[in-house]
Symmetry: C2
Subunit: 364 residues, 2 copies
């Protein structure tokens, strides 16, 4: 294996000032983030599920070598099997790697890597299900720019790597469901008003009823709709062009943004006192509680964010809320505050951190 | 009818600075208040349930005349049928008259009156179930002093009134269950730790298992244990002396005070973080909520009071909590803040009042 740089200081990855968390984007009051990912595989190697350790190491070596290109200047090239489980889990919580890649890396499976761009906007996993899984993650609704940025990374890799591609099937992937464009465009939506109006199931069914779209919870398949967060993505990647796929996700997103806006209007019109009560109580609990599990923190922050968006609560910068949202998860919290001996202690540290953050950066 | 003074300015009764609410008493951390009442009837008149209107008016006249004695200087002598329903209900909420007397007065039944001493410590209802129902209400555990003060009022009335009394049966009363001493001694206990430990039913059964004792909720028979408040009183008044009856209530009270103290110790020892979380959350909700029904306010204040007593929450004067406790009930609230058109508006006004009181007099 050639050219693998020394592992970066963990504190660098830990304190990464991520764009999707820190910046405001288009329709940020509903669209938390936009994400595009593509899968690529190198010609001449078996796909990771069928490859032997040596093959996977050679793939990683090729990919790492490709990042020697000046295009990747300032990037972090990481042998993820040398990262601590905690740091890996933190990358999952920040949506930089998949739970699958976390597990493989934590179990020290051979040839796993992470190639991470500045501000976490662009990232590639090496030897997840495919040799290369690249994503672009941006705040707000910004799929087109995401695709543009991702294409640039894709092109930079392609300068030095030979992709497995078929004229008939497009990009070849480990799982047939990714054949073709191998592209998945997704958005993370925050739908607190639809949640309060008990319309979340209706929305999910409406999306699921559209051919080629999938709907999931915050952390992907099989996770529930916590904190009123919903992920929508295209399910089919073969047939339409990248632009068509992105357009489809964007257009359903705009419809749901409208529905959420209508639900917010209705809440304001018909349930103003109850709505004010709800969001103020959630803020009060966050400001006072001493023991807060992550799931509850997510629900409370969801309501506070709604209250801020509707100007019921005093102004609070959205990045503060996003940072809180990410920092409440166990690994991110442990990275910030130190590891804990049990979940009660973790819930106490989470509560303290939330109280401090709200007192420092939040409302009076 | 002779000597009935003009009705007092309602604002006098409304702003009464009541001793049981304002002052601290013995074991106030558990015993909210002590109450002694006796029933008396005038010789030569039928008991109120069987008397005709004229008879009731004459009884009221006699009682009012008796208050001309200098002993009653500074007292309020009130024709309660001339009070507004709101003011009457407020007297119920302050534990100065019974719901039964409220209804009769509000329905303008003849001959109903209220004789109210300074600071609400002593009060007599005229023509409730008996011609005279006198009570002494004090903060903390103070039944002996209550009996001493009540006896003085009883003696003052007896100077000018002729009581129905039988050597065999003692004081004669409308209901046979009150025969004899016609005395009821009761205490209002605040048992939040026993409530949190789910031991309230055990405590109730323990009390109910004692011959001659009864246990009830905050507003007497048939009311539930709201806000972890429990009322204990003697059930039998015939046979033992007044002192024996009082001793019996006092002794069970001391046992329950010990049980509550043990439960508080256990909570502090074994569930310190959860307890701190609970009381801080309740304070947070009270400080932030915009809509608070009376029953919920009672539960929240119960927890805040526990937190203050255990020094988990910053010091807050107990009278502030007692005042809040009384002011959250609908009529007291309406008297303070004006009448409301519906219960939602009332719940909003209650929430605002609690927020203001806690901000002004409460903790930082």
């Amino acid at each position: 294996m050639t050219g693998f740089p020394p592992p970066p200081d963990p504190s660098v990855l830990r304190s990464l000032d991520m764009e999707w968390i820190r910046d405001e984007g288009h329709l940020s009051h509903v669209v938390v983030s936009s994400r595009i990912r593509v899968a690529r595989n190198l010609r001449g190697y078996r796909f990771p599920p069928g490859a032997d350790p040596d093959e996977l190491q050679r793939v990683l070596g090729e990919v790492v070598e490709a990042t020697a290109d000046s295009w990747f200047k300032g990037w972090h090239v990481v042998d993820s099997t040398r990262m601590s489980g905690l740091d890996l889990q933190m990358l999952v919580e920040k949506h930089l790697i998949s739970p699958h890649h976390f597990r493989a890396s934590a179990e020290r499976a051979p040839g796993r890597g992470v190639i991470l761009g500045p501000r976490g906007t662009l990232v590639a996993m090496v030897n997840e299900e495919d040799h290369l899984r690249m994503q672009c993650l941006l705040p707000g609704l910004d799929l087109e720019r995401g695709w543009m940025l991702l294409s640039a990374m894709d092109d930079a890799f392609e300068q030095r790597l030979s992709y497995a591609f078929s004229d008939a099937l497009g990009y070849l992937t480990a799982c047939p469901s990714n054949l073709g464009t191998a592209l998945r465009a997704s958005v993370m939506l925050h739908l607190p008003a639809l949640g309060l109006m008990n319309q979340m199931e209706t929305v999910k069914q409406m999306i699921a009823g559209q051919v080629g779209l999938a709907v999931r919870g915050m952390f992907g398949e099989g996770t529930g709709v916590g904190g009123n967060l919903l992920q929508i993505s295209n399910q089919i990647s073969l047939g339409p062009t990248e632009e068509d796929l992105i357009e489809k996700v964007k257009s359903i997103t705009l419809r749901i943004v409208d529905q959420e806006a209508a639900a917010r209007d209705q809440l304001r019109r018909e349930f103003a006192p109850q709505l004010a009560d709800k969001v103020w109580r959630c803020l009060g609990i966050l400001r006072h509680a001493q023991v807060v599990p992550a799931g509850e923190a997510l629900e409370l922050l969801s309501m506070v964010r709604l209250g801020v968006d509707l100007e019921i609560l005093p102004v609070m910068p959205r990045p503060t809320l996003n940072e809180l949202l990410v920092s409440i998860f166990p690994a991110s919290l442990a990275v910030l505050e130190g590891e804990v001996s049990d979940s009660l202690q973790g819930d106490m540290i989470r509560a303290r951190r939330i109280r401090q953050e709200l007192a420092e950066k939040g409302t009076v």
